[in-house]
Amino acid sequence: MAAEATHGGSEPNHARRFATIWIVVSLIATPLVVLFVGPIMPPGNGSAQASGHVTDNTVLIGMATPVLLLVLVYLIYAIVHFRAPKGGAGAVLEGPAISGDTRIQTTWIVVTSLLVLSLAVYGTVRLVEDGAGSGQGASPAWPASGKKLPVQVIAQEWAFTYRFPTYGGVETTHLVLPVNQTIELHVTSLDVIHSFWAYQLGVKADANPNVDNVVFVKPTKLQTFEVRCAELCGIWHGYMFDHGRVVRPAVFQVWIAEQQKRFAASKKYLPPYSTKYVPEPARRGG
C-alpha cells in the first residue's frame, strides 16, 4: 500500500497495522479451527466416504478461515479507524480520492484464482478416488475397486425398501450392511424423485423413476445410521426416514437368511430383480 500518499507523518501506517492484525489472528485461528473444529465436522467417520468428507470439510474450513478473517478484521478495522470524527457539524469531511490500485487488484485476482482453482482440483481428486458417496448415475465414472456387494434401494411414496440381488432378490424394510465391505448401492424410485441420504455413511443419491443411480460406500465401523429422504416428495417427506445398521459379516449372513425366511410369502409376487422398475398402469382408472 505504499502507493497512497500520506497526509503528513502523524497518520499511522494502516496497511501495516491491518496486515499484522490479520496475519496474527489467522495464524492463531486457522490451526485451532483445523485441529478442533475439523475432526467434529459432520458426517463423522462411519464409512470411508464419510471420513473423506470430514477431511474435505476440514480443508475447506481451513482455507475459508483466513479469507473470512481478512474481510471481517478489515471491516472491524475500517469501522473503528476510518470513520468521520464525531461532532462534525457543518461541512462534510471528505476522504482521500483514491480510486484504485492496479497492484492490489492484480494480486487479489491472482490469489483468489489460485485458491479457487486449487479447491476445484482438490475436489475433483477426492471425487475420482471413490465417488465420495454421491450418486453417479447409471454408469458410474469412478467405481470403487474390489469386490462389491450390490444392494438396491427402492424409494416410493413414502418409504424406502431394500433388495439384495445376490441373495435371491429378497426385499426388506430395513437396511443392514456388513462392515468393512464395499457396497454398491443402486438407488431408484417407483414414482417421484426422492433422495437416499444415509447420514453417518456420508451417502446421498437421488432416487429417480426409471433411473439407476449407483453410489459406492464402505462402512468402516459398527453403528446405527439414519436414513432420510432428502428431496421433497410429498406430504410425508419429513416422515420418510429409517434406521439402518452396520454389523459384522457373520451377523449380516444370519440376518439376511432370516429375512429370506420371513418374507418367503411375498417372494413369489416380487418382480424379477431389475435396476429399474416402471410399474403399470400410468394412470389409475376407477
Binding site: 502507493a3 497512497e4 466416504q49 476445484a120 414414482d191 416428495c233 419429513g238
Partner: protein
C-alpha cells in the same frame, strides 16, 4: 384582466361516479372476475378423451388455467392496457397521455410516469414481501415441534411453497422494480424509460401473479416447494396450477422489465454519459436485465411443458410414457441459477453506489467492479448443474460444474475488494443506509463462503437438500438482497417522498434485524450438517432445541419488520416531516433535482462531463514516487 381571472370559476372536480367509471383498478377487478368466470366456463365445456379422468379426480386443471388466463387478460384490459394499441391501430397519434393525470389516483392504475411505477412497485412488492414473511412465521411456528402439531402436513408444504415462490418471484424485481424504475432514467439523464407502458405492464403482471399465488389455498395448495419438481408436480391437486400460472407471469414480467432496462440504458443516455461514466448501480441493473431477458424464457418454457402435462396429457415428464423428470430439473435450474444472480447483482450495485456517498471517497476499482458484475453475468449460465450433483447426472460432468461454480466466486470477490477499497482511509458516516451496507458485507461474506462448501461435490453430498443450503441462500438472498432493499429504502425515501424516516426507529430496525437474522440463520448451518433435510415438518427430536432457538429468533425478525412498518406509518403518514433537499450530500444526479421530481425529470437534458464519484479531496500530484496511483483506477 385580473378581475376576470379572479372571478373565473375554478374548474369543477369531476363527480365521483365519473371518476370511478373508466379504465382503472375497479374496472380491472370487475373485468378480471368476468374473465375468470368466462375461462372457467369454457374449461368446463371442453370434453374429449384427454379429459375423461376429471370425473374421478374432481379436478379440472384446464378450467383453472383458462380461468386464470381470462382473469389476467380481463384485469389488464380493465386497467387500460389495450387502449393504446387499439388507438394506434385506429390511426390515432402516439402519446404518453397517461402521464398527465394528477392526484393519488395515478398510483392505482396504469401510469406511464416511471416515478409512479417505482412507487407502485415499492408498495406492491412490500405487501407481498410481508405476506411471504408471515408464511415464514407460520412455518417456524410449526417447526417448534418435531412432529406436525400446529399445521397440517398438506398446508405446511403449501406454506413452504408459497413462501419460497412468493419471495423468489417478487424479490427478483425487488430492487429493479422500485429503484431502477424510479432512478435509472434520472441517473442517466433521461426523461423516461424506453417503453413506459411496458414498464407499467410489468408491475401489474406481477400484482396479478401474486394474487394468483395466494389463491392457491382455495384449490388445495401445492406440495412441491418453489422448485416445482416433476413428477410430483404432475401428481398434485389443482393448487399446482396456481403456482404454474404465477411463475409464468413472473417470468413474463421479468423478461419485459429486463428488456425495458436494457433499451433505456443503451439508447436513452444523456450526451456525455459514456459507458465509463455510468453509475455503478446502472451497470448492475444492466447486468441483471441481461440475465432476466435470457433466463426467464427457459422458466416459461418449462412451466408451459408442465402445464401441458397436467392438462392435455402430454408426457414430457411422465416416465411411464417415455418422459424424464431430469428434463424439468435441468430446464428449471438453467433458469434458476441465473435467477439467484438476478437477486444478488442489484445488491452489489446498491452497496457500491451508496458506499462512496457515505465514505466520501470515489468508488474504488470502478472498472474492476464492472468486470466483476459482467463476469458473474456470463458465468452464471455455466454453473446450474451444481444443483444436480447427486441426482444421478453423468458423473463426469460434475468436475466441470464444480470448477465453473468455484470460478464464479472470483468475480464475486471483486465486489468485496471494491467495498474494502472504498472503505480504505474513508471518513465514514454510519447512517442507517450505511449500516445496512455493512450488514450486507457481513452477511454476503458468510453466504458466499458457505457457497464454496456447496460447490465442492464431496462436501455437497452431505449438505445438498439439507438446511445448510437453506442457510446459504438465506444469507445471500435475505442477508444480501433484502438488506440492500432496506438500505435503498432508507436512502431514497427522502427523494421519492420528500419526507424523513425516523432515524431512531430505523436504527432499532437495523440492529434488531441484523442480530435476529444472524441468530436465525447461523444455527441452520449446524442443523443442516446434523442431518435435517429441507421442507420437512417432522425431524429428529434431538434437533428440537436448535429449532426452537431458530424459531424464536425468526419471530424477532418479524418484530423488527413491525418496527419498520411502524416507522413508515409514523413518518410517512402521520408526522410527515419534510426532508432536506440532499440529506446525504450525494453528488449523484438524482439528488440535484428538486423534490418532488418534476414529471419530465429535467427541464433541460444535462450534458455529463465528469465521472460519477467525484468525492474526496484530490491527492497531491505524484512526486515521482514508485507505484503512484493513476487516476480513475
Amino acid at each position: 384582466m385580473s378581475t376576470a381571472e379572479a372571478l373565473a370559476p375554478t374548474p369543477a372536480r369531476r363527480p365521483l361516479w365519473r371518476r370511478l367509471v373508466g379504465f382503472n383498478l375497479l374496472t380491472a377487478v370487475i373485468f378480471g372476475v368476468a374473465g375468470y368466470y368466462i375461462g372457467w366456463f369454457i374449461g368446463h365445456q371442453i370434453k374429449g378423451p384427454s379429459f375423461e379422468f376429471q370425473s374421478e379426480t374432481d379436478e379440472n386443471d384446464v378450467a383453472l388455467m383458462l380461468a386464470y388466463l381470462g382473469g389476467v387478460i380481463g384485469f389488464l384490459v380493465g386497467l387500460g392496457f389495450a387502449n393504446y394499441p387499439i388507438s394506434r391501430m385506429l390511426g390515432r397519434p402516439a402519446s404518453l397521455r397517461e402521464k398527465e393525470h394528477e392526484g393519488m389516483g395515478r398510483y392505482f392504475g396504469l401510469c406511464t410516469d416511471h416515478k409512479v411505477v417505482g412507487i407502485q412497485y415499492l408498495v406492491g412488492i412490500g405487501v407481498f414481501f410481508f405476506i411471504a414473511g408471515l408464511n415464514a412465521m407460520l412455518i417456524r411456528t410449526e417447526l417448534l415441534h418435531p412432529t406436525p402439531t400446529t399445521i397440517g402436513p398438506n398446508q405446511y408444504l403449501s406454506l413452504v411453497g408459497m413462501h419460497g415462490a412468493m419471495m423468489m418471484g417478487m424479490m427478483t424485481s425487488g430492487i429493479l422494480g422500485p429503484f431502477a424504475n424510479y432512478f435509472v432514467p434520472i441517473m442517466i439523464g433521461a426523461r423516461r424509460m424506453a417503453f413506459p407502458r411496458i414498464e407499467a405492464l410489468t408491475f401489474w403482471l406481477l400484482m396479478a401473479a401474486g394474487f394468483i399465488l395466494t389463491s392457491t389455498i382455495f384449490f388445495g395448495g401445492f406440495p412441491t416447494g418453489w422448485t416445482g419438481y416433476e413428477p410430483l408436480n404432475e401428481q398434485a391437486v389443482m393448487g399446482m396450477d396456481s403456482y404454474i400460472c404465477f411463475f409464468a407471469l413472473v417470468g413474463l414480467s421479468m423478461m419485459l422489465l429486463g428488456l425495458n432496462m436494457i433499451a433505456t440504458i443503451v439508447a436513452h443516455r444523456a450526451p456525455g454519459m459514456t459507458w465509463s461514466r455510468l453509475p455503478i448501480f446502472v451497470w448492475s441493473v444492466l447486468a441483471t436485465a441481461v440475465l432476466m431477458v435470457l433466463s426467464a424464457p427457459m422458466l416459461i418454457g418449462a412451466l408451459l411443458m408442465a402445464a401441458f402435462d397436467r392438462t392435455i396429457n402430454t408426457s414430457f415428464f411422465v416416465v411411464s410414457s417415455g418422459g424424464s423428470p431430469y428434463l424439468f430439473e435441468n430446464l428449471f435450474w438453467f433458469f434458476g441459477h441465473p435467477e439467484v444472480y438476478i437477486l444478488a447483482l442489484p445488491g452489489f450495485g446498491i452497496v457500491l453506489e451508496l458506499l462512496p456517498v457515505f465514505t466520501r471517497k470515489p468508488l474504488w476499482g470502478y472498472k474492476l467492479a464492472i468486470s466483476g458484475m459482467l463476469g458473474v453475468t456470463l458465468l452464471s449460465f455455466f454453473v446450474w448443474q451444481h444443483h444436480l450433483f447427486v441426482s444421478g447426472i453423468n458423473a463426469t460432468l460434475r468436475p466441470f460444474y464444480m470448477l465453473s461454480t468455484e470460478i464464479i466466486s472470483i468475480p464475486t470477490g471483486f465486489i468485496f475488494l471494491c467495498v474494502m477499497g472504498t472503505l480504505w482511509k474513508a471518513r465514514a458516516r454510519f447512517t442507517v443506509p450505511m449500516l445496512f451496507c455493512m450488514g450486507w458485507t457481513f452477511n454476503f461474506l458468510i453466504g458466499g463462503l458457505s457457497g464454496v462448501f456447496l460447490s465442492d461435490t464431496p462436501s455437497d453430498t452431505d449438505t445438498h437438500g439439507s438446511f445448510f443450503v437453506m442457510a446459504h441462500f438465506h444469507y445471500t438472498i435475505m442477508g444480501g438482497l433484502i438488506f440492500t432493499f432496506f438500505a435503498a429504502i432508507y436512502y431514497w425515501v427522502p427523494k421519492m417522498f420528500g419526507l424523513k424516516l425516523n432515524e431512531r426507529l430505523a436504527k432499532v430496525h437495523f440492529w434488531s434485524l441484523f442480530l435476529a437474522f444472524n441468530s436465525t440463520f447461523m444455527p441452520l448451518f449446524v442443523l443442516g450438517m446434523k442431518g435435517m433435510p429441507r421442507r420437512v415438518s417432522a425431524y429428529n427430536p434431538d434437533l428440537q432445541g436448535l429449532n426452537v432457538w431458530v424459531s424464536i429468533s425468526a419471530f424477532v425478525i418479524g418484530l423488527s419488520m413491525l418496527v419498520f412498518i411502524a416507522n413508515v406509518v409514523y413518518s410517512l403518514i402521520i408526522v410527515r416531516e419534510p426532508a432536506e433537499a440532499n440529506p446525504w450530500h450525494s453528488k449523484s444526479l438524482e439528488w440535484q433535482l428538486p423534490t418532488p421530481v418534476p414529471v419530465n425529470n429535467f427541464d433541460q437534458i444535462p450534458t455529463i462531463d465528469h465521472d460519477p464519484y467525484e468525492y474526496g479531496t484530490p491527492l497531491p500530484p505524484p512526486r515521482g514516487a514508485p507505484g503512484a496511483v493513476p487516476a480513475g483506477g
